[in-house]
C-alpha cells in the first residue's frame, strides 16, 4: 500500500493540539484593533470549562475522525502489477513556437528557432512530432510526423509575424493533436518570450491529463527598454484654398532611461521631414511635423523612428485623404431664399465631412442637379413634377437620401405618396408658448450625439405650427411633440432613406433654427441620409479586410472585377483566389495596394496596416504559471511534469480509497454528534 501525498501525515501532529489546549486550561482572548465598530454587533463571548478531559470517548471519536480525514487526504492506494504495464514508450510531441512580433526583439526569434531545432534533434526514432507556429492564431504543418527533415525545413522557412501573442489557440490545437494521438506519452514544448498579454486567452485550455509541458523561454532576463510610435493624429487647415495636414505623432518609452530618437515623416514612401525627439523614462512625448498639402486621393503616410531592439513598433502607417465632401441639393420655393439661409449656414462649418450645398428653386432644379447630390432636401416644396420628380425617386431607390421638410407650401403628388412614411394634413397651430419635443430616440444615429449629459438640450426649441403626419405603426417615429404628434419620421425606399420633418427648418413656424442644437442636428440628419462614414486611416494586422464593406473601396468592382492586391512584401496576389471574394487577410505591417486590372482607368485603393501596440508591452509572466494553467498541475515539480510514468496517480484515481476513508470519518463524526448530545442532555439534567 502506498500514499499519493504522504506529506499529509505530518498533520497527525495536530491531533495533540486540542488535547494540549484542553489540558493547559488557557483561555486567550486576542485583542484586534479595528477602525470602527459601527457595524459590529455585540456578541457575548462564551467561555467553556476546560479543566480536564472529561469525556474520553468523545475525544477518541474526534481524534479518529480527524485521523481518517488526514489519511483520506493522503490519497492511499494499493500497488499492483498494472503499475509497470504502461511505463516508457514513444512520444507524441508538439512544438509550439511563438512568431508574434515581440519575438523580433533582439535575437529572440533566432534563439526560438534554435530551441525548436534542438527539440527535433532530440526526438527518438519512434516519436511523432508536430510543429505549431502561433501569434494571435495558430498554424501547423504536417501533423504527427516522424519525418525530421520536414520539421527542420518548416523551422528554417518560418517567418516572424506581425500579430500579437495569444497562447489559447496554439494550446487548443495541441490539445486536439494529443486527443487524437494513440502514443502512450504526450509532451509539448512551448518556445516563447512568455508575454503576459497572451495569458488570458489560455484561461479555458487544459491539455489532456499526463501531458508534460516544458517551457522554453527566450525572453531576456535583463530590462527590455522599448520605444514605440504609439499613434498619430492629423490637424487640417486650408492655405491658399488648398487643404493641408499637419501630423502629430506620439511616442511611448517603456524603459527606465531617457532616450533620444530621430523620427521621420514619409509621404508616398519619400522622406518629408526628420526631427529629433527626447522621451523620458516611462513616459511619452509628442512631435508635430510641418504641414503638407493633400493630394486628390488618399495619401500613404508613415512615421518612422530610428529602429531599436523591437523594430516593428517603431513605425506607424496611415492614410490621409482629402476631407470628403457631401454634396447636398436644397430645393426651395421660388423666391424663398431666406427659407434656406439657416440650413445653408448651419452646413457651412465642418471638416469631417464638409458639405457642398447647392440651392435651387423648384422651377430651376434639373435632373443633373439631382444626379450630382448625395442628399436632396425638399424645403417647403413638394416633389417636383415631371422628369425631375422621377429622377428624385430613382435617386432615392438607388441609395440616396431625401429630407422632406413640411412647410406651408408642400403639396405632394398622389402618385408618389409611397415615398413618404404616411399622409400629412393641413397646418396645426399650438397655442401659448408652443409645443416642445418630448420624445427623442437617442439611440438613432441622428440623435445619438445628444444622448450624453450636457451635450445639447432638444427640449428648448418651441414649435408653434406643424403639419400632422398620419403614420402606420410600422413607421419609425424618431421624435414627437408634447401632444404626441410626429416631428421626425423615417421611411426606407429601395436602397435609400427618407426623413420627414413636420415643421419648418427656418424660424417661421418654430425657433429651432435659433437654438445651439440646430447646427449639429442638421449635420447629423444630412450625414445619416448620405450614409456617411468617416474614412478609416489604418487597420490592424490580423484583421480581415472586407472590401465590400470598406468605405475606401466603393469604386472597386468587388464581385465582377479582377482585383489584385500588392502586399507590403511587394507580392502580388489575386483577391478571392482562396474562394473568399472580396476578403483580404491583413497579415503584414505596411501598405496594401488593391487595383482592378480589368478597369482601364482603375485607381488603386491603399490600406494602411499597423501592428497591435499591445504587443509592445514586453511584461513577462512566470513560465511555470502558464504551465500550471495549461496542465492543471502545480508548476515547478519536475517529477510531475517530466514523467508520465507516475503510475501511482493513475492507480489512486482508479481505486479511490480516500472516499471510503472519508465516509468512515463522517461515520465517526456522526457518532460523536450522537454521543455528545446525550452527554449534554445528561449534564443539563444533572445541573437542574
Amino acid at each position: 500500500m502506498g500514499f499519493l501525498v504522504p506529506l499529509f501525515f505530518t498533520a497527525l501532529a495536530v491531533l495533540g493540539v486540542p488535547v494540549l489546549i484542553h489540558m493547559i486550561q488557557r483561555q486567550r482572548t486576542e485583542i484586534i484593533e479595528f477602525p470602527s465598530l459601527m457595524f459590529v454587533r455585540k456578541i457575548p463571548f462564551h467561555s467553556l470549562r476546560r479543566q480536564r478531559v472529561r469525556h474520553l470517548l468523545l475525544l477518541l471519536l474526534r481524534c479518529a475522525a480527524l485521523a481518517l480525514l488526514i489519511a483520506a487526504f493522503a490519497r492511499p492506494f494499493f500497488r499492483s502489477a498494472v503499475l509497470v504495464a504502461v511505463t516508457g514508450g514513444s512520444r507524441e510531441v508538439v512544438i509550439l513556437v511563438d512568431r508574434s512580433y515581440s519575438m523580433g526583439y533582439g535575437n529572440r526569434w533566432e534563439r526560438a528557432r534554435d530551441a525548436a531545432r534542438d527539440v527535433v534533434r532530440d526526438l527518438a526514432p519512434d516519436d511523432q512530432a508536430t510543429i505549431i507556429f502561433f501569434d494571435s492564431g495558430a498554424q501547423s504543418g504536417a501533423r504527427s510526423t516522424r519525418d525530421r527533415a520536414s520539421l527542420l525545413a518548416a523551422i528554417d522557412t518560418a517567418e516572424l509575424g506581425a500579430g500579437t501573442t495569444r497562447y489559447g489557440p496554439a494550446l487548443q490545437l495541441a490539445q486536439g493533436i494529443f486527443e487524437d494521438s494513440d502514443q502512450p506519452r504526450l509532451e509539448a514544448f512551448l518556445i516563447t518570450d512568455f508575454q503576459r498579454i497572451g495569458v488570458d486567452s489560455a484561461a479555458n485550455t487544459l491539455l489532456p491529463p499526463g501531458t508534460v509541458l516544458t517551457a522554453v523561454s527566450v525572453a531576456d532576463e535583463d530590462e527590455t527598454p522599448n520605444v514605440s510610435v504609439s499613434g498619430a493624429s492629423v490637424q487640417r487647415d486650408f492655405f491658399s484654398s488648398r487643404e493641408r495636414a499637419a501630423v502629430t505623432v506620439r511616442l511611448a518609452n517603456r524603459g527606465n532611461e531617457t532616450v533620444e530618437r530621430q523620427v521621420a515623416l514619409e509621404l508616398n514612401g519619400q522622406e518629408f521631414e526628420s526631427l529629433p525627439v527626447t522621451v523620458e523614462a516611462n513616459s511619452s512625448a509628442t512631435l508635430t511635423f510641418a504641414p503638407f498639402t493633400l493630394e486628390d486621393m488618399a495619401m500613404p503616410v508613415s512615421v518612422r523612428a530610428v529602429a531599436d531592439a523591437l523594430p516593428h513598433d517603431d513605425v506607424f502607417h496611415f492614410t490621409v485623404a482629402p476631407g470628403d465632401i457631401v454634396p447636398v441639393l436644397v430645393v426651395g420655393g421660388a423666391g424663398a431664399a431666406d427659407a434656406n439661409r439657416y440650413l445653408r449656414t448651419a452646413l457651412a462649418p465642418g471638416s469631417s465631412p464638409s458639405f457642398s450645398v447647392t440651392v435651387r428653386s423648384v422651377d430651376q432644379v434639373t435632373t443633373a442637379d439631382v444626379a450630382a447630390a448625395r442628399v436632396v432636401v425638399l424645403n417647403d416644396v413638394g416633389l417636383p413634377s415631371g422628369q425631375v420628380g422621377a429622377a428624385v425617386r430613382r435617386f432615392v431607390e438607388a441609395g440616396g437620401g431625401l429630407w422632406v421638410v413640411l412647410g406651408e407650401n408642400v403639396r405632394w403628388p398622389a402618385d408618389n405618396l409611397d415615398l413618404l412614411p404616411g399622409t400629412f394634413g393641413e397646418p396645426a397651430d399650438r397655442d401659448g408658448r408652443g409645443g416642445t419635443l418630448v420624445f427623442v430616440d437617442y439611440s438613432h444615429p441622428v440623435f445619438e450625439v445628444f444622448s450624453a449629459p450636457r451635450s445639447g438640450d432638444l427640449t428648448t426649441p418651441r414649435f408653434f405650427r406643424y403639419r400632422p403626419l398620419n403614420v402606420g405603426p410600422e413607421t419609425a417615429v424618431l421624435a414627437k411633440f408634447d401632444d404626441g404628434a410626429a416631428a421626425l419620421a423615417e421611411h426606407a425606399v429601395g436602397e435609400g432613406r427618407v426623413l420627414i420633418w413636420t415643421s419648418t427648418i427656418d424660424n417661421f413656424w418654430n425657433d429651432f433654427a435659433l437654438k445651439v442644437v440646430y447646427p449639429p442636428f442638421v449635420h447629423k440628419v444630412v450625414e445619416y441620409l448620405a450614409a456617411y462614414t468617416s474614412p478609416t486611416a489604418y487597420l490592424t494586422a490580423g484583421q480581415v479586410l472586407d472590401l465590400a464593406q470598406y468605405p475606401g473601396a466603393v469604386d472597386l468592382d468587388v464581385v465582377g472585377g479582377n482585383l489584385v492586391v500588392r502586399d507590403p512584401s511587394d507580392d502580388r496576389v489575386a483577391v478571392g483566389r482562396d474562394g473568399r471574394t472580396g476578403f483580404i487577410d491583413l497579415t503584414e505591417q505596411g501598405f496594401y495596394e488593391i487595383r482592378d486590372t480589368d478597369a482601364a482607368d482603375s485607381a488603386s485603393v491603399v490600406v494602411a496596416v499597423n501592428v497591435d501596440l499591445a504587443e509592445s508591452n514586453l511584461e513577462r509572466v512566470d513560465p511555470q504559471e502558464l504551465v500550471a494553467a495549461a496542465t492543471g498541475r502545480a508548476a515547478g515539480d519536475r517529477s510531475v511534469t517530466t514523467q508520465r510514468e507516475l503510475e501511482p496517480e493513475d492507480l489512486e484515481r482508479d481505486q479511490t480509497l480516500w472516499w471510503y476513508l472519508l465516509i468512515g470519518a463522517l461515520g465517526f463524526l456522526a457518532s460523536e454528534t450522537v454521543v455528545s448530545n446525550r452527554l449534554s442532555r445528561t449534564e443539563l439534567d444533572a445541573d437542574e
Binding site: 482572548t29 486576542e30 485583542i31 484586534i32 484593533e33 479595528f34 477602525p35 470602527s36 465598530l37 459601527m38 457595524f39 459590529v40 454587533r41 455585540k42 456578541i43 457575548p44 463571548f45 503576459r196 498579454i197 530590462e223 504609439s230 499613434g231 490637424q235 487640417r236 487647415d237 486650408f238 506620439r250 511611448a252 518609452n253 517603456r254 516611462n282 513616459s283 511619452s284 476631407g323 449656414t345 448651419a346 462649418p349 465642418g350 471638416s351 469631417s352 464638409s354 450625439v449 450624453a452 449629459p453 450636457r454 451635450s455 445639447g456 435659433l514 437654438k515 445651439v516 442644437v517 440646430y518 447646427p519 449639429p520 449635420h523 497591435d612 501596440l613 499591445a614 508591452n617 511584461e619
Partner: protein
C-alpha cells in the same frame, strides 16, 4: 519591474504595497500618473469646469456642438466656446487624518493609500496648471494649505507628515472648511466615512452648495469590507478604545451586508446631490482606481 498586471493596453497597474516602499511622495505621484498616461492616446483630465471662459475662432475639426450659433447671428463668423477647464481652477484635498485612517491589514494603511491618491491628484492638477491646496482634519481642522500655483511642494510636505492620532468627526471640520472655499473649487474629500450616510451628506452638502465641485473618495481596507477574521476575539475601536467581544463567523455575512448597504446609500445620496463618489479598496492598484474614476469623469464631462 514592480508591475503586477496589465488590464488595458498601454497601462500598467501598480500594487499599493510597492508604492508604500517609496519614501518620496512626489516620485510616487509622478510614477503612477505618468505610468497610466503613458501609452494612452488621450490623457484624462481632472478639472473640467463648466464655467464659460472665452470664445475663439472655429477651426476645422472642432465639435459642431461647441459652435456659438447666437454669436454667429451677430458677427456672421463662426466661433466656438471655451470653458474654464481649458485654463485653470482651484483644487483642494480635504483629508481625514483621524485615528481610524491608520488601520491597514496588508501593509498599506488607509492613510498611506489616501496619501498616494492625494499626491497623484495634486500632481495631475499641477500638470494642468491648477492651483493645489490641502486641509487635514480629524474632529477639527488640523492643518490648512490654501490653493496656490506655488503650493505643490507644501502640499506634498503636509501629506508626508500627517499623523493620525485623534478621533474623527466630519461635521464640525467640514462646516469650518466651507469658509475657506469662497471661490468655486474642485474639492476631493478622502476619508473612511464612518458615520451615518445622512450625517455625512449633511456635512458635505454645504461645500457643494457653496458652488464647489465635490468628489468623495471613500477609502476602506479589505479587512473592513470582507471581515476575514476567524477566531473569536475582542475587537477594539481604534478611535474610542472601546472593546467588544466578537464571534466573526456569526457576524460576517451581516457585517458585509451592512458595509455594502452603507456604500450604496452613500452612492445614492451623492448622486441625488450631484456629488461624485468613488469607493476605493486599498487592495486595488491605485492607478487602476484612479484611471477608472478619471476616465468615467472625463467621459461624463467631455461635452458641455
Amino acid at each position: 519591474m514592480p508591475t503586477v498586471s496589465t488590464v488595458s493596453p498601454g497601462a500598467r497597474f501598480i500594487d499599493p504595497q510597492i508604492l508604500a516602499r517609496i519614501g518620496n511622495l512626489e516620485l510616487v505621484a509622478r510614477w503612477v500618473v505618468e505610468g497610466f498616461i503613458n501609452g494612452l492616446h488621450k490623457a484624462p483630465y481632472l478639472g473640467v469646469s463648466i464655467d464659460f471662459a472665452e470664445h475663439r475662432g472655429y477651426m476645422p475639426g472642432d465639435d459642431i456642438r461647441r459652435v456659438d450659433w447666437r454669436l454667429y447671428a451677430r458677427t456672421d463668423r463662426f466661433y466656438v466656446k471655451q470653458f474654464e477647464a481649458d485654463t485653470n481652477t482651484n483644487f483642494s484635498v480635504l483629508f481625514d487624518v483621524s485615528k481610524s485612517m491608520s488601520f491597514g491589514s496588508r501593509g498599506v494603511t488607509k492613510l498611506d493609500y489616501g496619501r498616494f491618491l492625494a499626491a497623484c491628484l495634486c500632481y495631475l492638477s499641477t500638470k494642468q496648471r491648477d492651483r493645489v491646496g490641502i486641509v487635514t482634519f480629524d474632529d477639527d481642522i488640523v492643518e490648512r494649505v490654501p490653493p496656490s500655483a506655488k503650493h505643490f511642494d507644501v502640499t506634498m510636505h503636509t501629506l508626508d507628515r500627517m499623523d493620525p492620532g485623534r478621533p474623527g468627526a466630519l461635521g464640525p471640520p467640514l462646516y469650518k472648511a466651507t469658509e475657506f472655499f469662497k471661490r468655486r473649487s474642485m474639492l476631493a474629500i478622502i476619508s473612511d466615512f464612518y458615520d451615518e450616510p445622512e450625517k455625512i451628506l449633511d456635512a458635505v452638502k454645504p461645500l457643494r452648495f457653496a458652488g464647489s465641485d465635490v468628489i468623495m473618495f471613500h477609502v476602506l481596507d479589505p479587512a473592513e469590507v470582507d471581515f476575514p477574521y476567524d477566531d473569536s476575539s475582542s475587537f477594539q475601536d481604534l478611535e474610542t478604545g472601546r472593546k467588544v467581544p466578537v464571534v466573526p463567523d456569526k457576524l460576517r455575512e451581516q457585517y458585509r451586508e451592512l458595509v455594502q448597504d452603507h456604500i450604496q446609500a452613500l452612492t445614492a445620496l451623492c448622486s441625488q446631490n450631484r456629488i461624485d463618489y468613488a469607493f476605493l479598496n486599498t487592495k486595488a492598484p491605485l492607478d487602476l482606481a484612479l484611471f477608472k474614476y478619471l476616465a468615467k469623469r472625463h467621459k461624463m464631462t467631455k461635452v458641455r
